[in-house]
Amino acid sequence: MTKLADAIIVGGGIHGCSTALHMCLAGMKPVLIEKDYAGRHASGVNAGGVRQLARHVAEIPLSIRSMGIWERIEELVDDACGFESHGQVLVAENDAEFDTCRARVAELNALGFTHEELIDGPELRRLVPAVAESCPGGVVSRRDGAADPARTTTAFRRKAAALGATVREGVAATNIRKQDGLWRVDVGADTYAAPVLVNAAGAWAGRIAAALGEPVPVETVAPMLMITSRVPHFIDPVVILRGRKLSFKQFANGTVLIGGGHLATPDQDRNETVLDWRSLAVSARTVFELFPVMRSATIVRAWAGIEARTRDELPVLGPSARHSGLYHQFGFSLHGFQLGPGAGAVMTELIVNGGTQTRIGDLGIDRFHPFAP
């Protein structure tokens, strides 16, 4: 049986769920289709960083837009989402890295962005007392922080459903086509039809785009994370390193999350990843060197979520260059969690108003198809 909706969203990650919620707030009745369950992949198992710091200039306006939503997240989704704002700090380990930091902050200031702030050694050690004396300084984004990714994604899904979105979990969207002016998608025995289709399928979105004639240079990746046993509280902000692959966060319960972008081998069709322990050992060595307090901690668990990374490591966000009524929202390349709330709001504006005040022009799919008709 064919069921009509105002929009069909494929993918129940933070992006699909945020778009579903914002559509409901705009008076639409979307259907959200998720082959597993909301937050099953990268959206539910990422490091939870809520970060404006160290972003590509092209996505800073979207990140700032999103930050405004994060700061009032409980009003939006009726759940605090574990959001805590203790800042994020980028650590320069030597003078060359510190010079790069200085140039970066100057560049952002010239563009009118003030969220990144250069800090010297004493301020760095005030914010991150455990950091080595040899580090000359860094950059801080003080409004940044972290949230609980699974709880956040689930909260968006729950609120969207409460406001009238149809959420279909556990069955994949298949046979995506446009017919008689409507997008049609099969979900088990049901068919949904709507004038709007949003492709927010994460690691699976590239296949959908390609099947609809808009291939994007995108690969499936699985960044690894590990978490330790509880250690005494020693750090508030999220710490990332300028020169090495490491991000570092201590939760309120004392456990420490170690990430930074070392990759596992994804097996997309099995929903599985095979961890690369030798790379995780590199992360462990870095932490061992920088934070002696961590040396006796135990690694309790390691994992990796499956997601999409584009060739230029920027997301694809905006209308299709080929089909009317089709919108893409994927390829967030290891840094999409913070952008989720804002991207859902922007996507809804694009669909409802035909445009948005948030500058996202450099994120369009047409950047990969300069000569397409």
Binding site: R158, V274, W277, A281, S296
Partner: protein, 472 residues
């Protein structure tokens, strides 16, 4: 003996040196294949033959003939070409058959042509009110102390639960002069009727006569209350009393020690973390790996033998070890199987060893009231999550154990779900009116046993690490 593996790769790596692992390793080595046997304990034997080479309990009758039978298998493995490493904690196994193992606080990786998991069983959680109080422990933990150190209880002691191990432990404690004030048997009365159709097979099984004699021995010395349908431990920071109900009888008795046991279930953590598919076993009420008749799992190259393949007891474990080993040899070096007994011989032995199992499974199927707690009873000890907390999370949208993590962090502590996983699955299944199979289990992750950051940091660097490109 406690050094890192001598080679980077082996034809077969066997994990666990209980009955199945010892039998499997010896068989593979007999066929001439390079074999590594990794075991977490200080000596071989697993749980059933724990400390068989070191126990201070030398009076043979105390631990019984079944215990000492393990010595031959240990000797066979030790006199073979198997490289045996004790105190070796395997913390990672993946579908490339790469194994992360910690030995003497140093970790290394070995590669296997085939892996035989013989990681045995765990005690089923017994989540009654007060089960987390100091003074309440599992029968298995008590038996470990008894076998390893000859320690037995000497204060007011209550044993509660059901199953063969409960009676064996009681008999062993009494033989060593330990104290037991009361045995509270939780076997549901209707189970006797349900098990009746299987009784004939059981009477012809090796367990029958031994089991009966043991129960008689214990009953002669300790008052036993049958049909116990309610059980609670209480005390202020320490166990003080045990309260039970049986029929119309209700009693609160003082106790310093309460030993709980309601059977064992496969230890699935390493297999699940490696990606092995499992299914819910409705009779044994646990997750069991999906296996072919040789013990092969859904992951190419990984087989499971012993109680980890589904509870079958020590005799069945030995034979399953032989079968998995022979299958591994067939896969790697078919000509070498000429040195081994034919598969048909092993299969006939297995049928004999498994006789009577259905009777035990049916008779000792634990009651729902002792598996699925309610109210303030703790389910997850690591994060102190109660049954009510879990039902509240279900009410706001947690659909299964993995979603529950987001709300309550259940299963995310150091025990990796070993003490709460089955309870969480069954509790959520009941609350959502679904089958345990539909509800599913925690996605388990390496390290399946915690390792220190320092140890991981000390893993030898590879060429690629040295040349690793850092992010600009």
């Amino acid at each position: 003996m406690n050094t890192t593996p001598r080679r980077d790769s082996y034809d077969v790596v066997v994990i666990g040196a209980g009955p199945a692992g010892l039998a499997a390793a010896a068989t593979v080595a007999e066929a001439g294949l390079s074999t590594l046997l990794l075991d977490e304990n200080a000596g071989p034997g697993g749980q059933v033959w724990r400390a068989i080479k070191s126990t201070p309990v030398t009076e043979r009758d105390y631990l019984g003939a079944d215990y000492w039978a393990g010595a031959d298998l240990v000797d066979a493995a030790r006199s073979s070409s198997v490289e045996i490493i004790q105190r070796a904690t395997v913390w990672s196994l993946d579908r490339n058959l790469e194994i992360g193992v910690s030995i003497g606080s140093a970790s290394s990786f070995v590669k296997a042509g085939r892996v035989i998991l013989a990681t045995g069983a765990l005690e089923r959680p017994f989540p009654i009110p007060g089960w987390t109080l100091p003074g309440v422990m599992t029968a298995g933990a008590a038996q470990t102390m008894l076998k390893s150190s000859g320690l037995v209880p000497d204060g007011p002691t209550v044993i509660a639960g059901q199953g063969p191990l409960l009676w064996l432990l009681a008999a062993q404690i009494l033989r060593l002069g330990g104290r037991i004030d009361r045995i509270l048997d939780t076997t549901a009365r209707r189970n006797y009727l349900a098990a009746l159709p299987q009784a004939f097979a059981f009477m012809n099984s090796p367990y029958f006569a031994k089991g009966l004699a043991m129960m008689r021995e214990v009953r002669a010395k300790v008052p036993v209350v049958t049909g116990v349908s309610e059980l609670a431990a209480a005390g202020d920071g320490q166990l003080a009393t045990v309260t039970y109900a049986a029929g119309s009888r209700r009693e609160t008795m003082p106790a310093e020690l309460l030993l709980l046991h309601q059977g064992v279930v496969p230890n699935v953590n390493l297999a699940m973390a490696a990606g092995v598919e499992h299914r819910w076993d409705d009779l044994q009420l646990c997750w069991s790996p999906i296996l072919d008749h040789d013990g092969n799992t859904s992951v190419e190259g990984i087989a499971i033998a012993g109680d980890g393949a589904g509870i079958g007891g020590a005799q069945a474990a030995i034979v399953r070890g032989h079968i998995a080993a022979r299958a591994a040899v067939e896969a790697l070096a078919p000509a070498a199987t000429a040195k081994l007994a034919p598969m048909a011989t092993f299969r006939a032995s297995l049928a004999r060893a498994e006789r009577g199992r259905a009777f035990l499974d049916t008779l000792f199927r634990p009651s729902q009231r002792f598996r699925i707690p309610s109210g303030d009873t703790i389910v997850c000890r690591c994060e102190e999550v109660t049954a009510k907390d879990i039902l509240d999370a279900v009410a706001i949208g947690a659909t299964g154990p993995n979603q529950l993590k987001a709300y309550r962090r259940t299963g995310m502590g150091p025990c990796q779900g070993r003490l709460c996983g089955l309870t969480v699955t069954e509790l959520m299944a009941q609350a959502r009116d679904k089958s345990p199979q539909e509800i599913g289990y925690y996605r388990l992750r390496a390290p399946v046993k915690p390792i220190t950051l320092a140890e991981l940091a000390a893993v030898p660097k590879t060429e690629t690490d040295v040349n690793a490109v850092v992010r600009g």
